[in-house]
Symmetry: C2
Amino acid sequence: MNHTENLSYFVAHFVDELSKSGVTDVVISPGSRSTPLALMFAEHPKMKHWVNLDERSASFFALGMAKEINKPVVLLCTSGTAAANYLPAIVEAYYSRVPLIVVTADRPHELRDVGAPQAIDQVKMYGDYVKWFHEMALPEIENNMLHYVRSIASRAVSTAEQDNAGPVHLNVPLREPLIPNFFLPNLWGKSESSAPFFTHFSGKKELSERQLEGIVSHIKDKAKGLIVCGPQMDMEFREAIFKLAMKWNVPVLADPLSQLRAGKNEKGLLIEAYDTILKSSDIRAKLKPDYIIRFGAMPVSKPYLFFVKENRDIPHYVVESTEGYREPALLNTQYVYADPHAFCLACAEVNLENDAEFTNRWIELNNTVKRKWKEDSEVLTEGHAVTTIQKCLGDNHILYVGNSMPIRDVDTFFMGTSAEVKIIGNRGANGIDGIVSSAIGAAAHGKKVTLLIGDLSFYHDMNGLLAAKQCNIDLTIVLINNNGGGIFSFLPQAQEPKHFEVLFGTPLDLSFQKIAHLYEGYYARIESWSHFEDELEKAYQSNGIKMLEIVTNRDENVSWHRELWQDVEKMLLRIVGNH
Amino acid sequence: MNHTENLSYFVAHFVDELSKSGVTDVVISPGSRSTPLALMFAEHPKMKHWVNLDERSASFFALGMAKEINKPVVLLCTSGTAAANYLPAIVEAYYSRVPLIVVTADRPHELRDVGAPQAIDQVKMYGDYVKWFHEMALPEIENNMLHYVRSIASRAVSTAEQDNAGPVHLNVPLREPLIPNFFLPNLWGKSESSAPFFTHFSGKKELSERQLEGIVSHIKDKAKGLIVCGPQMDMEFREAIFKLAMKWNVPVLADPLSQLRAGKNEKGLLIEAYDTILKSSDIRAKLKPDYIIRFGAMPVSKPYLFFVKENRDIPHYVVESTEGYREPALLNTQYVYADPHAFCLACAEVNLENDAEFTNRWIELNNTVKRKWKEDSEVLTEGHAVTTIQKCLGDNHILYVGNSMPIRDVDTFFMGTSAEVKIIGNRGANGIDGIVSSAIGAAAHGKKVTLLIGDLSFYHDMNGLLAAKQCNIDLTIVLINNNGGGIFSFLPQAQEPKHFEVLFGTPLDLSFQKIAHLYEGYYARIESWSHFEDELEKAYQSNGIKMLEIVTNRDENVSWHRELWQDVEKMLLRIVGNH
């Protein structure tokens, strides 16, 4: 066999096997060494390819897409620093358990570590941030090497998806010439078989009856129990968790990323306002639970963190479908490794009733906060931006939430909605990087996506907008512009004025209108809440990039938040005082 | 001692020791966990701090600055993906031997791997791309810990600079509260001592007389010798290498990044046009040397690579000041690890004379190409852009050259100039990323910097422009806009039209005028060569960002290059035919 045949069949079988194993999308950044892979991905009849110039943006684009379509997305780049640009998104994918298949083209061995151009050591370059690394063989079709290449592709997909999902890395050495031949017979292999190379039957962890009894026997009737659900992406989990909650009459403290605050199900036990409720230590003291069962990752809320730290003497159950140690409060934790659905349904078979007064108190406090949030405001505050977005979101919408202030504002102000909304954030490493591209990736398959983001985070990944323009992806951006790092105004360094503005305030002083127009997007500066509602409705009816800028003031924002909390605290203290 | 005292003294001594060890500049990206370090760097009387929001841009900014000031620059960021954004620049620094001191703030051990926010495993996160990693102790001032923290800072600077320079990584765990106290007595330690903690006397490698004789004894009198100098940053090396060349009458093939093409020294033996001369295999055959002595990294030129591969039977000497294996042609190489200055001067003591006809042939060919390049052209070509820039550069100017096409065009068209110009490129990994920030970093200390860059590479690091605007750094950008990946039009995939434009052409279709104005920069679209000269002169007299856009056409550019080469090849063949 000659070089071109070896190259073409080897790469074609690799791409075809990724497809057979369930991959539908590949995000490609242009480059030379990756040419045979890029061409073959583009040529494969079932692969959709997305071109994204900046590898950092490309990798977050793939991350956002994988979160939305809930299956692995392939990333492809050339050799050298191109691959290094993937690291932030790989780190995020690893910690937020998102399946990615990272394919880096590489120079062959004889061109490594000898000063050849664009040759860096790519072996295990992502360290422990990937679940699996494999250095591929050079393209060859004899010696069973087509079985080999299919086995690697099939395994990569399964490993990325299995258990705690995450990124895998395949490094692919390729020799010149790099142009494959599409016209070889049976390029994709035998077409009659659509089965993947490996089939995986992977069971779910289920507790034994004895283990389950062991847990439930410690949960007393008429106790003050709490269910908590942190960030998780399973849209179907709602049913099981509320079945258990309603059976036991237990309040469910639901993180904004728990997927429990939205949807058509009964929400009588849903506590969305716990971040506000738990801000006061006096109130926390009145709400001491007897046990907590948590699902999902640790919630975003800092008051909740204080709450559990003050209650380290009670049993804390953390339920995870597979191994994990996500308990940053350093509590004595009872880790339950079992499928959360099955666990909820099994518990719901047990007859138990929560302390009704305790449950009702949570509900009353929650309703009080929700009523307060419904009050009108003339001022353009970050909180009211969230309540307005909440009103306007429809079924199948996605709200992509930036880190730093936006996720905290959504936590505080996004109360339950009956619309079937998915709320997504990048909470693996909580970076402000890559958020724009993540949202665009989530929007690529046609879902209506609203991105709520601060100005610094938006700027960090401005490059991501190119893909929206080039691939005709629609995105509504709600830009909270406080001209700098708003979150720092809440931190102690704000009291240290000497270096504050330069080191932490970091005003951009950029025109976001100009940025929107650069990418041929629509731009509006929001003047009032009714204006905002109108613009949101218009944005959801139109195509392309729509940027709605809400200009706030960092100092005013801090005062507004603090005054509001004082008001609310008084109201809530009155209630707990009554009990 | 209380927490604040431990924190303040520990961090202050760290910063002070970096200063005492010679560091003058720190590039800070805003964040929370890094607060004590950021504040202390800002407070130190001898440290200049630069704030750069996007960590990827920040790290390339530091890289460019380190290349210009020729000493280590400190990078500081917060925990999480912030640190991951440094990887591309760290890889580039490692392979291009640029000293950087990367300081990443981290969560303390008890908040690691437990799902705490913004906590990722930062231990050895840059793998083998750094020369040294050290996980710092928590701030403490008893138990000799102020000696410890000074020893680490001092060692970090020395390790980054020593031998093959490169990046080092210090990971610094910090507990809350994060605000230091600037008003403690003797915050920076005893002020009377300005000596660093460690003093380093580090010798240079010098060959023994016997070793030197061994080398010279293989170099015959009247032989056809060649000296080659690839990319290197030592501005003083010129004198030694030309002393040797003139003594032996050997042609010096000088890469554009060798720092030999510019300056006031005698250039009779300087061969700048070898990339053009060696394009034709017929001409290469007529120029077979008897030996090659190379300094610096492998030259950029691909024809030169063909040339050495065709001459693997002759002795190849590669002189490096310390260990290295930068020989991608896989030649049997005689590695000479010795100080290149001393080596040149020692060789120049030996009486040897090159084959005069051979030397004269190179000079004649070189002059022929140079005359050709001086011919006027009406068309806006990438080659004439280079010759015009060359004309306009003055003493102490820096030309920062982008990868992909610009560096190749500079190699081909930038002939000798008597102006004291430094030409810099990022040739460690040859990425198109980070070039804008690198150039801005090189310009930060006031040098006049001209950046020659293509549209894709410019777009990749557009974020870097913010630092120029915020820190009032002047930069002249010559943007060669061929609306996409120009280099791919020279590669075989250009013959594969089916997927070419989407996967490789990748047109941006962006208005660079809008981008210049976004950052309050000046913009001009170049209409003719005289217009270009005028605009360059104007740009060098004015402040801020000046963008001069030259719009070329990818296909026309390929035809123009190819026709020119055919013309030149005929002229050169006539010359070698005459000998």
